[in-house]
Symmetry: C2
């Protein structure tokens, strides 16, 4: 039996998702080290934040990253230097990008071309300029190139099997007609509270503040309410379904930031003034109620008609999208094979642990392919 | 760029699923042949039914399998001879078992040990004796062996991503607490019609006859009503979750065949006498109704308590299991990471095209790994 080979893991980002990933990585590494006959073993050889990095000049594994990172004063390397550094590692390398940084995303093609695989929940790489998308997949071995592998399951719906399922549908020759769903945990929580199917619900501005207090929004809630996060996810799905979507701003995206508040200088000022617009939201709510419906913030891709959109829509109370709970996501794939009853995937679509899970599962996929 | 390598496909079974798979295979093969730089091309080198087979002595591809099979008078080979034949093929071999045959299932370890990969929707291999399960996964490269690869997504929920999701949860270190769902299209259709959440519904025996007439049951409806099909699926999921389940009869399975009708000599006699027991079913229905619930035929795996069971249970009308439509399956994974709101997968869990889709997607996975 051949000796297990070393696979070097380089991680950028040690925030919420990053920390959860590092904990899952340590579990995976120790499971592998205890499996006789496992074809590889994992070494964490690099960990960086936006400011500093930890790594050993001889690629010796980082076994106590938490304390080492805390005590480190080494500045991080520029990305091209990091690529140069990793390419000389004593084994295949997987770069795990747990940031949402555009610069890191822009560097994927360079890493991939050097044979370094990339796994990431970072939406920026797949929802930005179409050129970056093309550059990534023409470099990757699981695209049309012969560089490293790239996987990004957690860029939509966190650990939910959304991207792998869509890829399976497309690759096996199904015709995807429509993809529709609630793609934001924040928006899910907001509208499930603002207009529960059972009636009631608070003022919209109060629900936004409540969601923020519970940690369901970005530090500045406007970053959720502008719809861009959902638009990025829809861009990714539309492209995987075969549509050439230029960018997340190249199709209609409804922002829930009232025009009059676009000039607010801070998130706090915005929240303070948001109650002025509760009347408008109440109007939408009662309009829906009159039809026996509820409003939800959804995204959809209409493949045959090449249309992507993001915004508020009304749903019958018995519709699975209306019946969603908490901050769950739901994604429905309407395809030729599945007919009128779509393939539905539902569950938590945000949170450190479930996002990291998608990243770790992607890492396992890469490991098998590197085998 | 290296020349694309030939991968030889051998298919057993040309029934409903088999025909759909062959059509998807032909789509996949032609897509590959049109992709410049595709690392492999596919040749169908063997196709057999229970009686006859088509193959060319020099492994020349079967390009018109439909007419060739119709006209063939060649008897099929015994499985050990087939293995001997395939191992000499001019390329890696993937055996696609589209039967539900126990003998074919029993031969997987032998094929795998010879380096032949297996993809299949056949439940028998994974839900029979625990020894067969062990033999398969100790031979396969994606088990602990170094033979061929084995994938069986369609053995539970057809093309729905049930098995891959459960594997991802386990491999990334999540703790699966409970798996619960409706795992049979027939049972789904029967109970969604017998007791719709909106009230009404027919007599149970009439719904069984209706389901049979619509092609939703096996030719003999008792093969659905005995619960064994669901028990087999639960056995597979429980084993993937880490439980050592001996066989699909080693845990409680409720049969919907009344004791008094177990001796019926034919499916027709059974259907004729089933109305005698409508009173009992109506009683269950009105009991549930009084609690504001509906009855459904479900299976569940309770991982921490090592308990698997299959049978009728009552669900609140707002529960996702109660709200299922048509003949859809639903599978809910309750895990430590996903907390109270489970990861849910829902959609058609039977039918030639969607079952074949799971098999084709598994084939694509094998192709990548053989790369």
């Amino acid at each position: 039996m051949p000796l297990p080979r070393q696979v070097c893991i380089a991680v950028i980002g040690a925030g919420g998702v990053g920390k959860c990933f590092l904990s899952q990585l340590s579990g995976l590494a120790s499971k592998l080290s205890q499996s006789p006959g496992a074809p590889y073993y994992l070494s964490l050889v690099w960990l960086s934040t936006s400011k500093k990095a930890i790594y050993n000049a001889d690629y010796k594994p980082l076994n106590n990253w938490e304390s080492e990172l805390q005590n480190s004063t080494k500045p991080t390397l520029p990305l091209p230097e990091l690529a140069e550094y990793l390419v000389k590692a004593p084994g295949k390398v997987v770069l795990v990008d747990n940031t949402s940084n555009q610069d890191v995303a822009n560097s994927y093609p360079a890493f991939l071309k050097k044979g370094i695989s990339v796994v990431t929940p970072n939406k920026k790489a797949f929802s930005g300029d179409y050129t970056l998308w093309t550059d990534i997949f023409s470099a990757a071995s699981n695209g049309t190139g012969n560089g490293g592998y790239i996987f990004h399951e957690s860029s939509v719906g966190a650990g939910l099997p959304v991207i792998s399922t869509l890829k399976d549908l497309v690759e096996t020759g199904d015709q995807v007609q429509k993809i529709e769903g609630v793609f934001s945990g924040t928006m899910s929580f907001l509208f499930n509270s603002f207009q529960p199917t059972s009636g009631g619900g608070g003022k919209f501005s109060a629900e936004v503040t409540n969601a923020k207090d519970k940690g369901y929004t970005e530090p500045d809630a406007r970053d959720d309410l502008n719809g861009l996060d959902v638009a990025r996810k829809l861009t990714i799905l539309a492209r995987l379904a075969g549509l050439k979507v230029e960018s997340p701003t190249s199709f209609p995206v409804q922002s829930l930031i009232p025009k009059e508040l676009e000039s607010c200088s801070s998130g706090d000022e915005f929240l303070q003034r948001l109650p002025e617009f509760d009347g408008q939201m109440d109007e939408l709510k009662s309009e829906a109620e009159k039809e026996g419906k509820v409003i939800r913030f959804v995204g959809s891709v209409d493949v045959p008609n090449n249309k992507v959109k993001v915004g508020l829509e009304k749903f019958d109370k018995s519709h699975p999208i209306a019946a969603l709970k908490g901050s769950d996501n739901i994604i429905a794939f309407y395809t030729k094979r599945y007919g009128d009853n779509p393939l539905i995937i539902q569950g938590a679509g945000a949170g450190g642990d479930v996002t990291a899970m998608g990243v770790t599962a992607d890492l396992v996929k890469v490991l098998r392919l590197l085998n």
